[in-house]
Symmetry: C2
Subunit: 227 residues, 2 copies
């Protein structure tokens, strides 16, 4: 059987856990290769400074069985990057699954790949999916036909296990969960806007406001280009 090919986009100011959560799960699937795909083979600096090395360029990347776009502040640039958007459209046409974690779904949206699809996204950015004709859903992992998406950052691990079961069966997914000792016990209960409370949510929205505002304007233009 041919090796299963998974490709995860990496780019400057990526949120590394968006990608490394699902990477840790999916790289353990039998008969599977996970590529980290970027413009060039130069190391990529994530939003907190960690540098990761790509394994494949956009230009050289073969047809993937599953393509995944993580999020992070750098997603803003990807949404304007014609080469990346074309890469995603081309891959999506032949891939079995088109997937994202966190604000990666906005990049899929900007590529025109989520029109009429339900999708997850980081809670603070979720509403922007509408700018691209997608239907935002406040769930940890969302599936609509062959689109599978995870919510913010750490949702990538739940996403990864869901995808693992889809690709290789539940038994494989459950074994990986045990190996990764994924029996989460957060010391606090502040992981969603509902649980964190209005005050804390407000403070984070305020901190993100300039970023959200500039993105909102850019979305209008990007959506216009999609017509």
């Amino acid at each position: 059987m041919a090796e299963r090919l998974i490709g995860m986009l990496i780019f400057p100011r990526l949120t590394q856990l968006d990608m490394t959560g699902p990477y840790e799960v999916l790289a353990r699937l039998p008969n599977t290769r996970v590529h980290l795909v970027a413009h060039t083979m130069a190391q990529v600096k994530t939003d907190r400074g960690m540098e990761i090395v790509p394994t494949m360029t956009l230009a050289d990347c073969p047809q993937l069985d599953l393509v995944m776009v993580p999020g992070g502040a750098g997603q803003q640039d990807l949404m304007e990057d014609a080469v990346v958007l074309e890469f995603l459209r081309k891959q999506a046409a032949g891939a079995k699954y088109v997937t994202s974690v966190c604000t990666g779904s906005l990049v899929l949206g900007a590529a025109g790949l989520l029109k009429g699809y339900k999708s997850a996204c980081h809670w603070a950015w979720r509403d922007m999916l509408k700018d691209f004709g997608a239907i935002p859903v406040a769930e940890r992992v969302v599936r609509d036909r062959n689109r599978i998406s995870g919510g913010g950052v750490t949702a990538g691990i739940d996403f990864g296990l869901t995808v693992a079961a889809e690709l290789a069966g539940e038994e494989v997914a459950k074994s990986i969960q045990l190996v990764l000792e994924y029996d989460p016990q957060p010391p606090f209960d502040s992981g969603s806007p509902e649980k964190a409370g209005a005050e804390r949510v407000k403070r984070i929205r305020e901190r993100l406001a300039p970023l959200l505002e500039s993105r909102r304007k850019a979305n209008v233009e990007a959506a216009a280009r999609m017509q």
Copy 2:
């Protein structure tokens, strides 16, 4: 106020999520720098192939406020690496916190830093802590005086939030939890030996048996050297 310095050891065949989980949390602390410390500045290949770039060598690393050792198959070599063990002993003498995730605690043990301390570890390797005079505890995050340890792989996120609260207060930790949308909802309930059931645990123990056996022999020798 001087910048808080956190150092995470990275090494060949590291399990990347052991490190990148807590990295994602702790790199968001105010006034904090997180170093990825290795023998040289050459990129380090993790156990599933992802390559990560160190930011600091062992030799150049200043005194850290918190030192963290992640796990992964490569921990075996670290436990025999006199330079690493000496680095850890030296750092531990001046650090406020000496910490680990997953089988990283075995490396602290081999450095003689856990004698009489309670510690967490990946479930499959946990018993080996006794070889170094440590007291294995089957909990997600374990604290004993200034030693803080996380269990297997994904426990690093719970560990990271616990440490964040300790260093910068609960409010900061809760905000980071919200930004990372850490409201885990595993699609299956197979994340601990108790929950996964005896059959699945047996299969994974069998798969790990050669590794565990060779390690057990090496521990006896390492422990003897510690006397």
